[in-house]
């Protein structure tokens, strides 16, 4: 592939949205209220919309007749390069909100920079996605505050979820070789530079939500190299079921 680094770079962005969108899709019809049900489904829908734009672009770059669906649904587990954070399960609504919040803050900062990319397609996708993600961030921030500064029970649950997922935040700021190559060409975003603003924002919201900022400095990594938690395999079984069972068909 001529533009292999760009291809890998796009997957690095898109896989996060794919896996998070898939997780949110599990919740449709089972939310704590009709309004949150609609909101989570809507966020999932936004993410899948973004995913399609990214994979369609990646398919074009690959230039070998592979389609958006081949990229989304026919890779092996080790070939997905999403961060570990987004594949974590919907343990309860506090985990869903914590996962969303910890990703949204990053996602918003990331897209704000991607908008300045020299790659016009990526820049255009970023502009369109930013509108959506600023809404996602508002939704997850508001709910984090409600649950953190709600009842004793909700505070405990929210704190537990933040503590549980904190270990996956550092990976957001790791760079792969493809990332570095794309940064040097002015196409990619240097995520190491987002880290400070990220923790600043996250900690401010946690404080406002009367929650404690976790002190642990032990972080997990591996998603960007395709080394995932045990949760991903099951998610992929659902995601890939039809494409694997009925290969080479149109739907």
């Amino acid at each position: 592939m001529k533009n292999e680094n760009l291809y890998k770079y796009i997957l690095g962005i898109a896989d996060n949205s794919l896996i998070l969108g898939q997780r949110l899709g599990e919740l449709t019809g089972h939310g704590p209220s009709l309004e949150t049900d609609i909101a989570c489904t809507n966020i999932s829908l936004d993410l899948f919309g973004q995913v399609r734009s990214y994979y369609q672009y990646a398919a074009k770059i690959a230039g070998d007749n592979r389609t958006e669906d081949d990229i989304a649904m026919l890779r092996k587990e080790r070939e997905y390069v999403n961060v570990l954070l987004v594949e974590q399960p919907n343990t309860n609504f506090a985990y869903t909100i914590a996962r969303q919040f910890l990703f949204d803050v990053y996602h918003f900062l990331f897209l704000t920079q991607l908008e300045k990319s020299k790659d016009l397609t990526l820049s255009a996708i970023a502009t369109k996605s930013l509108k959506e993600v600023s809404y996602h961030q508002r939704f997850s921030t508001d709910w984090l505050k409600r649950l953190g500064d709600g009842t004793a029970e909700s505070k405990e649950k929210m704190q537990e979820a933040i503590d549980g997922l904190w270990t996956y935040t550092d990976e957001l700021f790791h760079q792969t070789e493809a990332d570095k190559a794309m940064v040097s060409e002015g196409v990619g975003v240097d995520v190491t530079k987002l880290k400070e603003a990220y923790y600043e924002k996250v900690e401010a919201v946690l404080k406002e939500a009367t929650l404690t900022v976790p002190e642990s400095k032990w972080f997990q990594k591996g998603g960007k190299q395709g080394i995932h938690t045990e949760h991903l395999g099951y998610l992929l079984s659902d995601l890939q079921y039809m494409q694997r069972t009925y290969p080479n068909m149109e739907w």
């Binding site: 898939q22 899709g25 599990e26 449709t28 019809g29 089972h30 939310g31 704590p32 209220s33 009709l34 309004e35 949150t36 049900d37 609609i38 489904t41 809507n42 999932s44 829908l45 899948f48 919309g49 995913v51 399609r52 994979y55 958006e68 669906d69 989304a72 649904m73 309860n92 609504f93 505050k145 409600r146 649950l147 500064d149 709600g150 009842t151 029970e153 909700s154 649950k157 998610l235 659902d238 995601l239 079921y241 039809m242 494409q243 009925y246 068909m249 149109e250 739907w251």
Partner: protein
């Protein structure tokens, strides 16, 4: 109010409906009108919400990104319909919590069709094509029903439903023109969903207890049997067009009636499902009750947070 006054009000009320005027939430209305509307509208809202489950069942397994996005959007629309139908029903003096309570305890009904399982992808096509198709036939006349909030909600619902129906039929077209396996999947789905879809239009006129009064209030414009015939006449050519066979050996065009004759509906099955003993009744209710109970702490937190915020605001003002 004296009996005579009430009688006068009732006469004026019926006259307004006869003149095609809309009844609005603050208008006087007979108690029976209010109750009948709460029953039908909440049942309709519940059907939207329970109806999210059989289709939600395929969101994580949709075969392509395009189909996944369309399915998510569709199920989200249903949640939206539920939301404004609940809101419209609330104008009659019942809270959403009370309506949920009625659903969860089995006091309120929802459309029986959602008590069938969705076991293959083709069921997403069949539901859109047949179930939404039958729903539209039921619902279009309601855009002109007498109660204003319901009529206005139905205008939007019907627009979206007709989009869903085309989307479902398009899934079926694709399958019917696909590989032998896909075609078989489509035929199998039609076989399983055809009869329940016919039942969806309600018991035969002879057995329907609500028809006469509902006709007067424009909650119903045609009888169940007429609606069923309309659905069959509309759907049979659509099946033929894509090479699928309606699973009814007695189905035959009747030249004289300019309509299809069709076979006997298994009403025992219909009543079994209505009475709570269909294949998925218990699972559907369990899913709804679980969502509600597991969400209690979230709703409590939102309430507590809002109160704290209000307190802080008041303190600041002092």
């Amino acid at each position: 109010m004296s009996e005579e006054q009430v009688k006068n009000l009732e006469e004026q009320f019926e006259a307004r409906i006869a003149r095609d005027e809309k009844i609005e939430p603050k208008d006087w209305m007979p108690e029976k009108y209010r109750k009948t509307h709460i029953r039908q509208m909440s049942q309709h809202a519940h059907s939207e919400i329970v109806g999210m489950l059989p289709e939600g069942n395929w969101i994580t397994r949709a075969p392509s990104l395009r189909r996944k996005v369309a399915l998510l959007a569709k199920v989200q629309d249903e949640a939206g319909h539920g939301l404004y139908l609940y809101s419209a029903t609330e104008t009659l003096g019942i809270s959403r919590e009370e309506m949920y309570e009625q659903l969860h305890t089995g006091k309120a009904k929802y459309s029986s069709i959602f008590n069938y399982p969705t076991i293959t992808w083709a069921d997403m096509g069949a539901i859109g094509w047949l179930v939404d198709g039958a729903a539209i036939i039921n619902q279009v006349p309601l855009c002109n029903t007498s109660y204003g909030p319901y009529a206005r909600a139905m205008i939007r619902v019907c627009k979206e439903e007709s989009f869903h129906q085309r989307q479902g039929y398009e899934i079926m077209i694709k399958l019917a023109n696909g590989t032998p396996e896909q075609k078989e999947m489509a035929q199998d789905a039609l076989n399983r969903w055809w009869w329940p879809s016919l039942m969806m239009l309600g018991p035969t006129d002879a057995e329907s207890i609500h028809t006469a009064q509902s006709m007067k209030w424009k909650l119903k414009r045609k009888s169940n049997d007429d609606l069923r015939q309309q659905f069959i006449d509309q759907t049979v050519p659509q099946a033929e067009l894509i090479g699928l066979t309606i699973p009814d050996p007695d189905l035959k065009w009747n030249e004289e009636r300019q309509s299809y004759d069709f076979g006997e509906i298994d009403w025992d099955e219909f009543w079994q499902v209505v009475k709570g003993h269909g294949p998925m009744n218990k699972e559907r209710m369990k899913a709804r009750v679980n969502a509600w109970e597991n969400g209690a702490w979230v709703r409590d937190a939102a309430m507590a947070h809002a109160e704290k915020k209000q307190d802080r605001k008041e303190k600041k003002a002092v």
